[in-house]
Assembly symmetry: D2
């Protein structure tokens, strides 16, 4: 039996922090009450928030230049679940895990599900991988996978995606996320339209294999690994393809996959309006697909995205249920710390956006009172909702001070012993 | 009667240049023949190329900081037609003009049409203007036009667009281009979805007013004059709206209206594939919507766009007929010189793209011979097709050396006398 | 005598708000005390913060497409001072005004100074204008000013700058800010090195005219109004020129004048390290030089800039005294509201950055505890310091609720009557 | 003895191509002569052009997602020299190789030098590597190398750089290129100024170790592998550091290391003017540091850079001698083909820039004839100088049709047999 942080340890760690938390919570509650906001309702709402962790995020990421792993890195999907379970234990905000195949493929799905159950973890969307060649793979993805010129390669890639659906079914997943790195590095390498036609042909086959209650999430990305043209490079292409495929196909938004200066919250609003928002891969970035911790570079942007999501929730009602996942590369931090911290930053944006008085905002908008409309959003963002987040976590059984609780638990050191470094780490840290 | 360059003058100017041209043309012809390319066919194709000039492009443009007009600027639409006619006379590549209302509104359409006929000019798409208030306008566009919160403002903007259709019908135009600067400068100013819903409502009314043989071109733009969110900011939004409206609605691509690093040729390919490419506003840029002369900053990008267009022409056949227009701001050059030169640079890209051996290219692509595929495009681009362009112009009656022919004709000096500077220049130079 | 808001009105407006403020202030004080932060010291520090307003910011700005002025716009420098004085009266954070010549030129400096004294306003850096032609100007700046090919034009531009110094001396200014739009729209238009050589020659003459206790601030900008190359386009060029000129020349940073994705706080750190930081033109932007209200688009970036400034203050001591100015274009808001709001957002970043425990941060950095270092900054940013800002304002005699106090005072309506719209507004809104 | 293409094979391959080449060369010669340009002088100039190849460029590159190696990849520095020698044999434009340590470290420098001599190859600048940990390295570069918080790490990195100088001395190199990936992924991770102070301390030690006739090249890069702040992120920082170090320190420009929209040719002009241009790492890019083949994405930009270099050569005379190197990642092409092709594209830009009539250009600039100045550059760029490049290669003993000559030689297939795939390939393809 491997080491787990005991719930008793968490509670005892909370003990010395709960009085200050209550005091901050009460002060904030009084302040919010003056504006007609019920802190208890908001806290309950915070407790209901959930974002999936990616199994591969439990390992240290890297760049094409180097990867500097830490100690105690998970060596297989069971150990990844242990780490993701720990993240959820302390954060109480990440009840599901998103797997990546073939990295996380096991022969016995039941065993994996039981392991997840022991952590009270469920499985979010599954991810296929056709951007790497696997050992002894019959065909190469060097020149594309689902869009390859060769039917044999496309068939292989399609079959892999269908296998991912099968694997996911056994685990209780309800969606397949398809990201392909397919594209070209040079003008002329691809016939741009031909490549997309092949993509649609391949996707139609995958779509056919979807169970009735499944969805397929199309993920676009401006560039990398292709550096001149990427087949699914922007939300427009993703949207047009999702339309071609049918109702079960939707568009996934990764915050780092856009051109510089792109207004991402507007893309969110458009996808909601036209019924094609699948969900998110959350992270943050300053330059490209930097895959930094969510909310670490531009927290106001994250808030504005949730501002759209809360608006959508009100308009669309309970049918609006986008998939939330963290998708980060933890190159210089302990992945567990980054995942916990990032989950809470996403939750923070959700709670702040929930603070906005939307009737008031609509009234300012209707009268073109730009100043007050802008200040209404900004005041919600400026509100320090940390006591709500801490209290939500505390009430759900998590740690008030996650990072220090985790550090003092000795989890990482225990894993360093349990998990000697391996050369065969499967897919850790690639995002 | 105002000054016009005589055709005799043009022909005599050509006289001393035709021998060298013939020599260069023959040398290029021999070289192309070695690769199985018939220079005569290509020259005929060049002669068939046409791109519209924008009436407002005949004036000096400016920035929010200043405008430095030249001498002899056109003061009304008749004078603008004189300048555009001169551009076509010398370049033989710009047989139509695109008008902008209310700047170019006249009470007597017949008179205007006769004036155009005297220049052998036709009328391309007409453009509406709801980004400025006109004197004594009943409502203000400060907070939007087709998307304004106020129904009265939206009605005014819709009515103006419908009036544009009426004005265009009298002149023989077949399309209305709708560009709105509507958007917001601050998060919270607009409900992002609400603004697009109002846009669609307004556009549906305009769409209803379209004659059977007309189209409406939706033009997107990332930013400016709105600096946080623009209602029609990207091709995805434009595309989704065109779908909502119907078959007569298509998407216009202005080369300067995209986020940094955007692969514009891919957008072209996508719009062609999904049947929604309206056409182009050609210009060039390094930073934003700089509206510089076409081909002056990144000529290879212009070539790659035409590479897609020639590919589309082959796939789609004669039904493929996108609208081409120059849309530039001539801040530091003589607008007539810039328009002539830019028309030829666009024509150059068209001819270079026509040089590509597409069977050969497809074969390289099919075998993933990236190097040879890339070189195939590049060799076409590197080919100096100037003799073809010059010969096409010469054979059609234009000037071999347009700029010097224009300068030596004394046209601008004549206009400086005919057209004393006016404070009331209507819309010159705004793009 | 024109309308002014009475101090009594402000105090009575505060009356109903002071109890809630005190309660929020106390709650925050308790929380900060737990972390060893003295809220009273911080409030005093907030009271000491100052940022200049630009005289031209009191008018409505616009774009090359249109300008939509509001009512009651100031028509001359005296009325601009009235508006800036009102901004300072309510915000207590903008005790100085930055003038722009020739827009703000008056024949009687003493009269202007007395008017400023009546508002307790001082004068910050003066700004020259060689990006526009003035009526009847002997030479044109169309092809550049300080870098023009023509010595006569350069002489004119140099003389204007020297005149600005003279005008500034009479008012008590201590610095001249030089921003030129000089550059080229096309490759080939300028010899890039030649243009900078002429710039340096011109600047040396201006530098010679600086009094001993004056400085000259060089302001760089990536693009606009020049769209291919700008002579002083980046901080590297600005820095090299400031070195060539001497100790009195420093580099001014406008937050909107950088390439996409630029890390501005790093530029700040570099300029501080090498002794050349002049100060800031504060604003915010999403795309280009959007000149939006400070802190409205990316407030975390503003905080990170102040994080560097507080670090610099500790390292450099009292000699570190950069110039702070707002430089915004108020296209859709009441300029007075935007200036007040923006001043407080800059002050907010200053106070938040002052919250950071720098010894603790240095310790985390020294041990490569990236997670805790990042969280240390983020926690300071997440702290809602509004009660400190409000209390600082209240204690200094300003308005707790600036916007509503201003609105309820009827100032704008009074000005609408006092100042009927004028066609000759001098330079309002251009930034 | 391993396979080499025989010179006889090259000459016989040329045999069937020389007549067409001569014909194209003569036609171009006649045309150029009309403009007073001597094609023979230009061809001689082309023959004198040289750009170094990077040893690591001989292997297939990759991304953080995957690497798809080809067959016959070089497994050590001797095999890399074989490939680089072949590139020079056919292109006659790459007489030197740039090594990267420790990847290319050998115990016997004399043996390596003899091997290079057998290819008539010399050695260009040597490159240090402190962005990766080497097996059994005493300290880790995870948190920086020359800027690390730990003196022990910095000492290790400094010692490695000094060792590189020693290794280079034995081979005849005259410069050390220092690129560090040091920086931070999160605000707060680094004290921005502290990191640069440590950089300067480390560089001073390296600078001390430079022989009298050596230079050190500082290479800046906006981002990657660090994603929030990079210590040497822009030319301004590089320039300031080079100044601090002394005359032997200069700034190296990699074309892919800039923010979006950056005008690189202006940076070149600035570095020349202030005496700090070291040279170039040539490649092309559309998004980030894409490391695509030179001239493949934006050939006009490459031309404009050489336009500055030719201008500098005229101003500075023979003392102007920047270092030229290719630095590309060949992910989907045969590296040998990419290197040959790219060398010629750089040579093309050099020859085209040499075509410009600089007196004429200066005259247009002096009279603000923007149109003709711009056209002067553009006409040089539009000139198809391929016959000059081919003739220069032919006369120097290279292949007229490099790619096909290489393919028909069977070199790659021979190497596939000689060099079975190795898991221990040292540093191939990382750029």
């Amino acid at each position: 039996m491997t080491f787990r942080i005991s719930d008793d340890f968490v509670q005892s760690h909370n003990q010395s922090r709960v009085a200050d938390l209550q005091s901050d919570f009460d002060a904030l509650g009084s302040k919010l009450a003056r504006n007609g906001v019920d802190i208890e309702a908001l806290t309950l709402r915070a407790q209901g928030f959930a974002v999936a962790t990616p199994s591969w995020g439990a390992g240290t990421g890297g760049t094409r230049f180097a990867r500097f792993p830490g100690v105690g890195e998970p060596r297989n999907v069971f150990e990844k679940l242990d780490d993701c379970g720990t993240v959820n234990q302390l954060s109480q905000a990440t009840p599901t895990v998103s797997l990546h195949f073939p990295w996380d493929k096991v022969s016995d799905a039941k065993e994996l599900k039981q392991h997840a159950d022991s952590w009270k973890l469920g499985f979010d969307a599954v991810n296929s991988n056709t951007f790497q060649n696997q050992p002894n793979q019959a065909e190469s993805y060097k020149f594309g996978s689902l869009t390859n010129q060769s039917a044999a390669v496309r068939d292989l890639a399609v079959a892999h995606n269908i296998e991912c659906i099968e694997l996911g079914k056994a685990l209780g997943s309800k969606a397949l996320t398809v990201w392909v790195g397919d594209g070209g590095n040079f003008p002329g390498q691809l016939n741009l339209r031909g490549a997309l036609e092949r993509y649609l042909d391949s996707l139609k086959q995958i779509y056919q294999a979807l169970p009735d209650d499944w969805q397929v999430f199309l993920e676009h990305k401006l560039f990398e690994p292709a550096f001149y043209t990427t087949v699914i490079a922007d939300w427009g292409t993703s949207f047009a393809c999702a339309q071609q495929l049918g109702d079960k196909a939707k568009c996934l938004v990764d915050l780092g996959h856009h051109a510089p200066n792109t207004n991402i919250e507007m893309i969110v609003a458009r996808l909601v309006q036209f019924g094609k928002l699948a969900g998110f891969h959350f992270n943050d970035s300053k330059y490209g697909d930097d895959d930094l911790d969510s909310g670490s570079i531009n927290p106001f942007q994250l808030f504005l995205i949730f501002n759209e999501l809360v608006d959508a929730e009100i308009r669309e009602g309970s049918s609006f249920n986008p998939a939330y996942m963290l998708d980060q590369s933890h190159n210089v931090t302990d992945p567990i710390e980054s995942l916990m911290g990032s989950a809470i930053e996403v939750q923070r944006a959700f709670v702040q956006a929930s603070l906005v008085d939307r009737d008031q905002l609509a009234a300012y908008q209707a009268s073109n009172d730009v100043m007050m409309a802008a200040r209404t959003l900004r005041r919600a963002f400026q509100t320090d909702v940390t006591p709500i987040l801490d209290m939500a976590r505390f009430r759900s059984g998590g740690a008030i001070d996650m990072i220090n609780c985790y550090r003092e638990s000795g989890y990482r050191q225990q894993k360093a012993e349990e998990r000697p470094a391996s050369k065969n780490a499967s897919g850790s840290g690639i995002v």
